[in-house]
Symmetry: C2
Subunit: 351 residues, 2 copies
Amino acid sequence: MMRQAPELNEREATILHAVVHSYITTAEPVGSRTVVKRFALDLSPATVRNTMADLEEQGYLQQVHTSSGRVPTDRGYRYYVDYLMRVQELTGAERERIEVEYAQRLNDADEVLKQTSHLLALITHQAGIAEAPSERAAVVKRLELMPVTRDRMAVLLVDNYGRVRSMMVQTERELDADHLPTLNQFLNDHLNGVAVDGLSAALNAKLRNFLDEQRRLAEEALQVLSLMPAQRSGQVFLEGATQLFEQPEFRDIERAREVFGLLEERDRLVDLLRSAAMESERTRGSVLIGAEFQGKGVEGISVVASPYHVDGQPVGAIGVLGPRRMPYPRLTAIVDYTASMVGRILTRLGG
Amino acid sequence: MMRQAPELNEREATILHAVVHSYITTAEPVGSRTVVKRFALDLSPATVRNTMADLEEQGYLQQVHTSSGRVPTDRGYRYYVDYLMRVQELTGAERERIEVEYAQRLNDADEVLKQTSHLLALITHQAGIAEAPSERAAVVKRLELMPVTRDRMAVLLVDNYGRVRSMMVQTERELDADHLPTLNQFLNDHLNGVAVDGLSAALNAKLRNFLDEQRRLAEEALQVLSLMPAQRSGQVFLEGATQLFEQPEFRDIERAREVFGLLEERDRLVDLLRSAAMESERTRGSVLIGAEFQGKGVEGISVVASPYHVDGQPVGAIGVLGPRRMPYPRLTAIVDYTASMVGRILTRLGG
DNA sequence: CGTTAGCACTCATTATAGTCGAGTGCTAAC
DNA sequence: GTTAGCACTCGACTATAATGAGTGCTAACG
């Protein structure tokens, strides 16, 4: 039923599990009687009380006030997530739901991830977050210059995620329209497959091999590329934030305000999502709980996240954000499965 | 000091003005003594009480409970906005602040409007909303087909707002790469200046004039254009929503939830913004108050909005959303001025 | 010695009552 | 028409008590 659980003996583990589980579902502090009854333990409440006191002393549980029931601490949740909770398989219905959601035509990575944040919000009832692959790390599939006005030009770039990115460039001298197809041809011949933020470097490296006409083209191209604005990092999609109001922990206005403030600042949000996704290396489940966001200025929330991979490389992350009291078994399953879906779809897109 | 005020006699108007003004700044129900003192009226509280009772009977004021001070009703706010409030000139500092905010390089309409929502949120302390011009109504500046893979092609479109829109199109048969420049040339020769959602129609209309080679090109182009996905209507930018938590009317969780729910549904948001902006024809100030959003499922909020114009045509709207108790004189001034800025900038972009 | 029954104790929650004061409506006088 | 005076209303705040869920501790039990 549960993994090897260090530090705690079996009874302690059982009772911690019971408390966390009960609290997750009811949002009420858990008393000794409740534990015995709900989990049909063959123990008396008094015994459970003793164990609970031990768990409190070790920092896994906490009383909201003397003589109230117990509530998990961050540490308690962490232990639960790492060692106690049973991995929950997705039901057939859930799996199907996800498949259906991705069945429609999705043309590029941005659409896929927008859809993902929507899906996550919908089925988890938490805030769904999805970070698109960084534009910097993307690879050029196609590059094209397109004159717009006499002194402005659009640099158009299709990357391996199917996204088209356009940047306006102010050109110094007028462009020779007839000349452009040649230049475009040149660009595509030499820059296909290069990482977006390495375009200039790649061209520079090749420069010595070029002669005459080719060299002239390359220099011209370099000039344009140097004018390109810096690439943005991956866009973040967020959906379902309003659902957080349903959670009793956010009925307190100050709390709600803190969280919504966080959600509005996309930089901090990505930071959090990434931190959580990286947890998957260190601990199980890619879960970040409460105060584990050190110095990130938020407390009382958890993030369940998972990186998604394209060609074996992690290129972005998705996840959900909510109160610490979250149904982790279900959420980790959903997030992991969805992340693998996203990876698969993006890989297909890139081909 | 104030315009011709129908329906109400001078004293009533003065007192209504005083009550609304006071309530807007303090968020506290206004009593007769307060009115007399804060506005140095040459009347006794008792007289004011009588007039307030009259105003209540006529539906301009309201008591939150028997023997409490008065609070404006929707109707009261409406009268205040239409007839009583003094138009407030922007201070030099405010105006400069706005100019500075737009001084940086903004390459296309989307950036301009994103910046606008940010600016509005910042200086009004309400939620700032900005709707970009509809992509449908935009005019083609430049159109280009770009092969991506063997059977997929990007249709790239630069519009008169500097935006580049790209759409992936699945092509039936393989594209002849050498042939593409000719086709692109053809498209630009004939479709420049046409509205985006009228491309096919425009080409169809010209069809009979073409012969041979041209006709072949046109038919080819039509085929591609017919595959283009439908244009989206204008994107909405929203910023500063979190600031609404500061307002006492949104300290009630249920209220906050309602509003945030609304803000998350972009369709309803645009709808509201447009309704409010259109008010500028019917009433003064482009303000929509509380229950005036008939059947839109929101109460207790107001929107101050203003359309912006490009080439004399209204093509979008900007505004702010907050509680009904808003500093209308300042907000209408800011929103109007900002809207004219946006219009000016977009016009310049389009040239 | 681990487990449990019993019991005194704590503390959030709820209900009840009382006080205070801002503000009203009404009446009568100016 | 205006105003002073006054009884009245009602939310906000405070105090007090009752309730009950749940605890920690002690002593007895197997």
